[in-house]
Symmetry: C2
DNA sequence: CCTAATCTCTCGATGATCGAGATTATCGAC
DNA sequence: GTCGATAATCTCGATCATCGAGAGATTAGG
């Protein structure tokens, strides 16, 4: 066994641990705002899509969070009821509904996850350009491997 | 804005993307075996604890996956019914029940997640000792920050 | 031995999710 | 135009995961 195999195993364990803790952050946000896991995943998906300039619809949201249309309707009803988003009929294709996050939801998300992002950025101060490049390449590689496993058959 | 801020933002995004994809792997495993997310989290928690030599009990499991005792009973019932684990009364403290994973469940988990672990290890071949050390330190730092956020108040 | 504390389980209620199908809107062919 | 096919969303009834409250069993400490 190569001497760096220990490090490899530790790195793999750290990836999983990081995953668990990131989930815990999401869960904490959910609990603080009276939401469940799915609701948070949905809000994040909507926020991401909106940020990319692709308006979110119930159909796309269902794909993103892996729910059937009936469940998406219930999900959107929930979030709309507590004021986190609005349904807006698309004028171009009037079958479609565009989901728009409310300012309050954006603010809440920004405060919670923005704080985390800032702390992560701060922690990255301890790395120079070269080291960050290594980390970047590493994360790309790992994400690639994991994505392949997530999509298989 | 410093020139490496772009890299920092990208690294943060990659961390989140990795989180999403790792969840997807878990979800895929769950779907393949007729389980739900919680069931998989529970099996992983039991496997980890067992590997550390700390026998898992319903109480500890409830803390690990954040469920009330009533839900843990239902969860263990489900997993026991499909043969993924056994309840064993502890002879020392007879109030306690020790949860033991079945060989079939261990094998299924090993096949699915072991394959991923092997691919991750293979991908790490592209890094020398020094680079792996940087990655290791980075993951420790990030996990630390995230854990603090997960635990806060 | 009592009493309090601990661990697990039971029961009834709530709510998230699903499958099947209804509803409304768009598109292409004629 | 208008008709059938397709698409996006929603409704309904059923199922099951989760919870709160509390019961039953066991242990630990005076």
């Amino acid at each position: 066994m190569a001497p760096q195999d220990d490090v490899r195993r530790e790195v793999a364990l750290l990836l999983r641990r990081l995953n668990v803790e990131l989930d815990a952050v999401g869960q904490r946000f959910a609990h603080l705002h009276g939401l469940n896991r799915t609701d948070v995943r949905a809000l994040v998906a909507i926020m991401d899509a909106t940020r990319r300039g692709e308006p979110m619809t119930p159909g796309r949201l269902g794909e993103a969070v892996e729910l059937r249309s009936a469940s998406v309707t219930a999900l959107v009803d929930r979030l709309e009821r507590v004021g986190h988003l609005r349904r807006i009929r698309d004028d171009v294709d009037r079958r479609r509904v565009v989901l728009e996050m409310s300012d309050s939801a954006m603010a809440a998300g920004g405060e919670h996850f923005g704080g985390l992002a800032a702390d992560l950025a701060a922690a990255m101060e301890g790395y120079d350009d070269e080291e960050l490049a290594v980390v970047h390449r590493f994360l790309l590689d790992m994400t690639d491997v994991v994505t392949r496993h997530a999509r298989e058959s």
